[in-house]
C-alpha cells in the first residue's frame, strides 16, 4: 500500500511547509528590528571581505587590501538591487554604471540639477563654428592606474574604440566626424552637424577614457579584438579614477579600493573629492528592498539602494540613519496604441488622460516618493515645463468620450501590459484599471516579462490590432537632453521604443531642428522643445504618469550622501565625495 505511506508523509510535509511559511513571515517581521549576532541569509561565501566587516569597523578587513594597512581602513558597503552586467567601458550599457564612474573618468562631468559642467579629465573646453568644432584641454597630472599618463592620444583611442565597436551607448558619438590630437594634452573633435559635445562627453555610458595599454594586457591584436572585452570582463580595468577594481564577482559583490595616486585627492578645492572618502567601497548585490532594509538596520550594509518606500519616514525620524532624496530622471509613462481603434481617436486618448488619478497613483504606488509628471521630460531636467500635467476630471473625460461617439464607454476590454515583478508598475496599473472603469473603459491588466512585453509591442508596428492597448514603460536618458526622451519614444523613425506607434511629421521636424541648436543656442532649442511637447500634450500618444525621486538611506556615519548622488549617473554613489567617520 504505497498510498498509505505517501499519504501520511504528505500530511506531515504539507503541514510542515505551511508552518515554515508562517514562521518565515514572522521571522521576516521580527528580523527588521536590530538583533545582534544574526547571520544574514543572503551572505555569499564566508571568505568575502563584506562578511568579515562590521559597521563598527572594529576589525580591519585584511582580505580587502593586498598591502598591509598602516591603520584601520574605512569600509563602506552599498547594497545594489541588481546584479552587475559587463565590465567593458566601451560597450557597457546597463547596471555596471553603479561602479564605473568611480573607476573611470570622462572628459567632463555634468550636474543636471544646476545645469553645470564639472571638469573631469579635461580642464577647459570650447566650441566654435556653431558647435561643430570642439576643443578639450586635458589636465597634465592625471594618470591611469597602470601608471601611464592620460594623454590626448589615449582620449582619441578610447572614444574611437567605443565608436568602432558600435555597441551600447556608442550612438552618442554619432555627430563626431573625426578626432584630432593637437598636442599631448589637447584634443579636437570635428562634428558632422552641431551637437552639445561637452554634454555628450559627460554621458553616463560610453564616454569613459581608458589606458591604451589594454591591447597589450589582453594579448590582443587590436582595440576591437574580442580578447580586449574578455580581459575587461575577467575583472580587469584600465581607468584613471579614484578607485581601483580589486574584486569582480558580478553576481555577488564588487570591491573597490581607494587609489592614492589619483590627481583629485591632491587638487585643492576639487568638488569631486573628499578627504574622508572611504578606503574600501563594496557594492554588494542584495536583490530585494525588504532584505536591504533589514541589513541596513542590523548594520550589515551602510547604504541601501532601496528600502520599502512606506518606511522612508521611519528612517528620517531615526537619528541613526540619513536619508538622501534627489530627483531622478527616470519617469513612468503609459504609451497608448495610437493605431488601434478606438484609441486611434485623439478624443478617446485625451479622455483616458483625464481619467487617471495622478496624485493617488503617486501616493499608492510610490508612497508619495515621486512627482506627478508634467510632460515626458522629468522634473529638474532642462527642457522640462510645468504646464503639461493633465487634470484628473471624470466629468470632462466622460464628455470627451461621448463626443468621440462612445457615450456608454468602450465596448471592448483594453489590454494593459506592465513588467512582472515591478510593484510600482503593478500598483500604478491597478489604479489605472480601477479609475478607467469609472468612465466605462474596462481594462485587463497583464504582467509580462520585459522580453515578452517588448516583443509583443514591437510586433505592433506590423500588426497594431494584435498588440497591447496600453503599455506602462520607464524611460531614462543616456545623456541629459530632452531629445533622448522625445526621439526615442515619439519620433516616427524609432521603431524600437516608439511603442505608441506615433507618427507626426510636424513633431519629428521640430525635434530634429531643436537638437541642432542644443550646442550653441539653448534658448532656441528650448522653445522648439516646448512646441514639440505641446503637440504631444494635445495628441496624447502617451500619458506621462510620474517622475521618479531617488531615495537612498544610509547609516548616520556616512556624510555627504546627498552630494554623492547625481541623477545624470543613476544608481551611482560617488564614494570619492563621501565623508566617512572611522
Amino acid at each position: 500500500m504505497g498510498i498509505l505511506a505517501r499519504g501520511a508523509s504528505r500530511t506531515v510535509f504539507v503541514a510542515a511547509v505551511a508552518l515554515v511559511m508562517v514562521l518565515i513571515l514572522v521571522a521576516a517581521y521580527l528580523a527588521t528590528r536590530p538583533s545582534p549576532g544574526e547571520a544574514p541569509e543572503e551572505s555569499p561565501a564566508p571568505t568575502t571581505p563584506a562578511e568579515t566587516t562590521t559597521p563598527a569597523q572594529t576589525s580591519p578587513a585584511a582580505e580587502a587590501s593586498p598591502t598591509p594597512a598602516k591603520e584601520e581602513k574605512t569600509i563602506v558597503i552599498y547594497a545594489s538591487l541588481s546584479e552587475m552586467t559587463t565590465a567593458d567601458p566601451s560597450t557597457e550599457f546597463s547596471n555596471s554604471i553603479i561602479w564605473m564612474p568611480l573607476v573611470y573618468e570622462p572628459l567632463v562631468w555634468y550636474d543636471p540639477l544646476e545645469d553645470r559642467l564639472i571638469p573631469g579629465l579635461a580642464v577647459e573646453w570650447e566650441s566654435s563654428d556653431n558647435g561643430t568644432v570642439w576643443t578639450f584641454r586635458l589636465r597634465e597630472n592625471a594618470k591611469f592606474h597602470d601608471g601611464t599618463p592620460v594623454t590626448a592620444e589615449a582620449v582619441k583611442m578610447s572614444i574611437e574604440r567605443t565608436i568602432a565597436l558600435g555597441q551600447g551607448a556608442a550612438f552618442i558619438w554619432d555627430p563626431v566626424d573625426r578626432i584630432e590630437v593637437l598636442d599631448d594634452y589637447t584634443v579636437r573633435f570635428y562634428l558632422k552637424y552641431p551637437a552639445p559635445l561637452a554634454h555628450i562627453a559627460a554621458a553616463s555610458y560610453g564616454a569613459w577614457i581608458f589606458s591604451p595599454n589594454i591591447v597589450k594586457y589582453a594579448g590582443a591584436s587590436n582595440l576591437t579584438d574580442p580578447k580586449v572585452a574578455d580581459w575587461f570582463n575577467q575583472g580587469n580595468e584600465a581607468g584613471s579614477g579614484p578607485y581601483r577594481l580589486v574584486k569582480w564577482d558580478p553576481e555577488n559583490e564588487v570591491v573597490l579600493e581607494k587609489w592614492e595616486e589619483w590627481w583629485g585627492w591632491r587638487e585643492p578645492g576639487y568638488e569631486m573629492a573628499s578627504p574622508n572618502a572611504p578606503d574600501v567601497f563594496i557594492i554588494k548585490i542584495v536583490k530585494d528592498a525588504v532584505t536591504q532594509e533589514r541589513l541596513l538596520l542590523t548594520g550589515d550594509i551602510d547604504i541601501a539602494q532601496y528600502v520599502p518606500l512606506e518606511n522612508v519616514d521611519r528612517f528620517e525620524k531615526d537619528p541613526g540613519f540619513v536619508v538622501a532624496v534627489k530627483p531622478s530622471f527616470q519617469n513612468l509613462l503609459m504609451l497608448i496604441n495610437t493605431k488601434k481603434p478606438p484609441l486611434d481617436n485623439p478624443l478617446v486618448r485625451k479622455a483616458i488622460a483625464l481619467a487617471i488619478p495622478y496624485e493617488d497613483i503617486v501616493e499608492v504606488a510610490r508612497a508619495g516618493v515621486a512627482r506627478v509628471a508634467s510632460g515626458p521630460i522629468p522634473h529638474g531636467m532642462w527642457g522640462h515645463f510645468e504646464d503639461f500635467t493633465y487634470e484628473y476630471n471624470l466629468e470632462e473625460a466622460r464628455k470627451l468620450l461621448a463626443q468621440a461617439g462612445y457615450p456608454d464607454g468602450i465596448d471592448r476590454t483594453l489590454l494593459l501590459v506592465y513588467t512582472a515583478g515591478d510593484i510600482y508598475e503593478k500598483r500604478t496599473a491597478e489604479l489605472i484599471k480601477t479609475s478607467l472603469a469609472k468612465i466605462g473603459i474596462q481594462v485587463e491588466v497583464r504582467p509580462m516579462s520585459w522580453e515578452e512585453q517588448w516583443s509583443l509591442a514591437l510586433s505592433g508596428w506590423d500588426n497594431p490590432e494584435a498588440a497591447q492597448d496600453l503599455f506602462i514603460f520607464y524611460w531614462w536618458p543616456t545623456y541629459i537632453t530632452p531629445f533622448d526622451f522625445l526621439y526615442n519614444m515619439f519620433h516616427s523613425e524609432n521603431t524600437l521604443f516608439n511603442l505608441a506607434y506615433y507618427q507626426n511629421p510636424e513633431f519629428d521636424k521640430l525635434i530634429e531642428e531643436a537638437v541642432l541648436y542644443e550646442g550653441y543656442d539653448r534658448e532656441r532649442a528650448l522653445s522648439l522643445y516646448y512646441e514639440a511637447q505641446k503637440i504631444l500634450y494635445e495628441d496624447v500618444p502617451a500619458v506621462p504618469l510620474w517622475d521618479s525621486v531617488d531615495v537612498r538611506v544610509a547609516n548616520a556615519r556616512i556624510g555627504n550622501l546627498e552630494k554623492a548622488i547625481n541623477p545624470a549617473y543613476p544608481t551611482t554613489i560617488f564614494a570619492q565625495v563621501l565623508s566617512v567617520e572611522g
Binding site: V14, V17, L25, E430
Partner: protein, 293 residues
C-alpha cells in the same frame, strides 16, 4: 448511504482530529460558495476600489485583518480568496480525474499494447517533478485562473491513472467480472458498471488528499508570479503582495498565509481519516483493539 453515514460516525469516534478537519473543510467550502454575499466590503474583495486614507491600517474591529496598500479590507479579500481556492481545488482535481480515470481504466482493462503505450505516456509525465512541470506549463500558457488549473491538472493526472491502472489489473481478473463476461455483457458495460466502481476507492482517497495540495501549489504558482491574474484575491497572490511591506504591515501577508495553512491542514486531516476508514486492514486492527479492550 447508510454505510456512508456510519463511516462518518466511525470517523468521528475514531479521532477528534478528523472532526476538526471536517469542520475546517466544511467551513472552507461554505465560505467559498457564499463569499460574494457575506464579505463585509464586496468592492474591496473584488478589487474595484481603493481608498487612500485607509491604507496600511492594522487589524481592528472594523478591519479584522487590517487593510492593504490600496486601503482594501484584507479580511474581505481573504474570504473571497476562499472562493478561488475552492474553484482551483475542485477544478484541478476534477480535471485530473477526468483525464486520469479513462487512461487508467482503459490501460488496465484492455491491457496489451494499448495498455503499455498509455502507461508509458503516463510514466513520461511522472518523470518530471510535478511542481516544476506545473511552473513550466503555467509560464507557457500565461496567467489566469483557467490556465493555472490546466497547468496543475496536467502535472497531476498521471498519479490517478497509475493508481487506477494497478487496481483495475487485479479487479478485472476477479470472479464477478468473469461471470459478467459469461452473461454476455459488452466490454464497455463491464468496464464502467463492474470494474470501475470496484476500483475507485484508492483514487477517491487520493483525490480528497490532493485538494489541499492543489490549493498549496496554486498558491505557490501565484507566489512565483505565474499563477492567476494580478488583481485576483487568490491567497498565494495576497501573500506575495504583502511581501513588499512586510516590515511595516505584517498583516497583509500573514492572514492569507494562515488561511492557506489552516485549509490545507483541514483537508489533510480529513483525508487521513478517510483513508483509514476505507482501508480494511487498519479498520480491522482498530476494531480488534477496541474489542480486546
Amino acid at each position: 448511504m447508510a454505510s456512508a453515514s456510519s463511516q462518518v460516525l466511525w470517523l468521528i469516534r475514531r479521532s477528534k482530529l478528523s472532526l476538526v478537519g471536517l469542520f475546517i473543510v466544511a467551513g472552507f467550502v461554505v465560505t467559498g460558495i457564499l463569499a460574494p454575499f457575506i464579505v463585509p466590503y464586496p468592492e474591496d474583495a473584488r478589487g474595484e476600489t481603493y481608498n487612500i486614507e485607509e491604507r496600511f491600517q492594522p487589524p481592528s474591529w472594523e478591519h479584522p485583518f487590517g487593510t492593504d496598500e490600496y486601503g482594501r479590507d484584507v479580511f474581505s479579500r481573504v474570504l473571497m480568496g476562499a472562493r478561488y481556492s475552492l474553484i482551483i481545488a475542485v477544478g484541478v482535481v476534477g480535471l485530473a480525474l477526468l483525464i486520469g480515470i479513462p487512461v487508467g481504466l482503459v490501460a488496465g482493462y484492455v491491457g496489451g499494447r494499448v495498455g503499455s503505450m498509455l502507461m508509458r505516456v503516463t510514466d513520461m509525465f511522472l518523470a518530471f517533478p510535478p511542481l516544476l512541470l506545473a511552473i513550466a506549463l503555467a509560464a507557457t500558457l500565461g496567467r489566469g485562473l483557467f490556465n493555472t488549473i490546466i497547468a496543475l491538472s496536467i502535472s497531476w493526472w498521471p498519479w490517478y491513472a497509475r493508481l487506477l491502472y494497478v487496481r483495475v489489473t487485479s479487479v478485472k481478473n476477479m470472479p464477478f467480472v468473469d461471470s459478467a463476461r459469461l452473461l454476455g455483457l459488452g466490454r464497455l458495460a463491464i468496464m464502467f458498471r463492474h470494474v470501475l466502481p470496484n476500483s475507485l476507492t484508492p483514487v477517491t482517497v487520493q483525490a480528497a488528499l490532493d485538494m489541499g495540495s492543489a490549493i498549496l501549489e496554486a498558491a505557490g504558482l501565484s507566489f512565483l508570479g505565474v499563477g492567476v491574474d494580478p488583481s485576483t484575491p487568490e491567497w498565494g497572490l495576497l501573500v506575495t503582495e504583502g511581501w513588499a511591506s512586510i516590515s511595516s504591515a505584517w498583516w497583509i501577508s500573514l492572514f492569507p498565509g494562515l488561511a492557506i495553512l489552516v485549509t490545507v491542514l483541514g483537508f489533510n486531516l480529513l483525508a487521513d481519516a478517510l483513508r483509514e476508514s476505507l482501508d480494511p486492514r487498519i479498520r480491522r486492527i482498530a476494531l480488534t483493539r477496541r474489542i480486546l479492550g
